[in-house]
Amino acid sequence: MSEEQRSGFPFARIVVILACTFGVGLGLCGLNGVLSASGAAMGDSNSVMGPLMGVVAVVSLLAMVLSGLGLILTVIAWVVSEAFGLGWGRSDPQTLFGKKDDRDPKNPE
């Protein structure tokens, strides 16, 4: 049985997507800084860059705040679901540096 089928809810996928969104938000935030450094003024309707910077600033801030909060909440929800036995099957635990699965897939025994 696959991980996702076991857990029922794709926590892992959501965590990765939120982390990527956070990264994109970070990049947009930097882009805004680059535009500022190049002399564009936020909200300046006389320049092409002015309104664009306002949009970039809002989008980057929203992306970072929402994805950051979402990331924290999703990880907490994931941990809680595991703590109450709703997620991962624990049928086959391993040590931190456990041996790799070197069984032959054609002959598992």
Binding site: S2, A12, R13, V16, A19
Partner: protein, 263 residues
């Protein structure tokens, strides 16, 4: 030839390569680093296949992402030990934890590694899943280091002063070791090593990458002016810890292999 930062009032001399400090570019290059690393990962996974199925790979990626985020932040704060000490005495430690900046690659790698091992243990994934990360990490870190170089003195990754002919001026008028360029060159070599078509045990490429990078950082951080704790900076201590863990992991693997052969 026009250099970045030229004409902005920085004091350059003919012996130094003028770079200047442009911190606004750092987040842009950081995002490009994540994107390029992920693109290489997707390419490799499509070409070579994967040792785990897709849901398990998502689980591994999530463990890596969360572990890397926490690890890079914690070590990034610990790296600036005097700042942490001052914040502790002023009762502002929590505020420091959530302040912008202060992330480290070594913390990200070690945190990501431990995060993956943790989720693998919880979910019963027994395969070594790190080989697909080795080359993407080389590419991503190299791209990110361009951002560190351009950020100059605003980033805490600059080198110690030097009079070598390839010294760079990061905006303070002092010639410094271009440690970011040294690291990019090292990562090119490491990327070639982990990409060679050798027959290696599962997980060995990632361990070569991690061991190589930690050893490199241990060495190169001697030419960075970071606060020292018992003779080395916090990153170097973390590198030593990571290398010890890797050696223990290798020894445990060797003992298990010996027991299997004996049985």
């Amino acid at each position: 030839m026009t250099f970045i930062g030229a004409g902005r009032g920085n004091r350059y001399t003919s012996e130094m390569i003028p770079i200047g400090s442009h911190p606004v570019w750092h987040p842009v290059l950081e995002t490009l680093a994540y994107a390029s690393g992920y693109a290489v990962f997707r390419h490799l996974r499509g070409r070579q296949g994967d040792v785990v199925d897709e849901p398990q790979r998502w689980t591994v990626l999530a463990g890596a992402a969360v572990g890397a985020l926490v690890g890079s932040r914690l070590l990034g704060i610990a790296e600036q030990w005097p700042t942490v000490e001052a914040a502790w005495h002023a009762g502002r430690l929590l505020a420091l934890l959530f302040s912008p900046g202060g992330k480290t690659i070594v913390g990200g790698l070690l945190g990501g590694w431990l995060g993956v091992e943790l989720v693998k243990r919880l979910s019963g994934i027994r395969r070594r899943t790190g080989d697909l990360f080795a080359l993407p990490l080389c590419v991503g870190i190299a791209v990110g280091r361009v951002g560190c170089l351009i950020a100059g003195m605003a980033d805490d990754t600059y080198g110690k002063p030097t009079s070598l002919p390839w010294a760079v001026d990061l905006g303070d008028g002092i010639g410094r070791h271009p440690v970011q360029i040294y690291e990019i060159l090292f990562l090119v070599l490491l990327g070639i090593v982990v990409s060679l078509n050798w027959r290696l045990p599962e997980g060995a490429r990632f361990r070569i990458f991690l061991g190589g990078y930690l050893a490199w950082r241990f060495a190169i951080d001697f030419v960075k002016p970071q606060p020292l704790v018992a003779g080395m900076n916090v990153i170097q201590w973390a590198c030593v810890g990571g290398i010890v863990l890797l050696v223990l992991d290798g020894m445990a693997g060797g003992i298990r292999g010996h027991e299997r052969r004996a049985a």
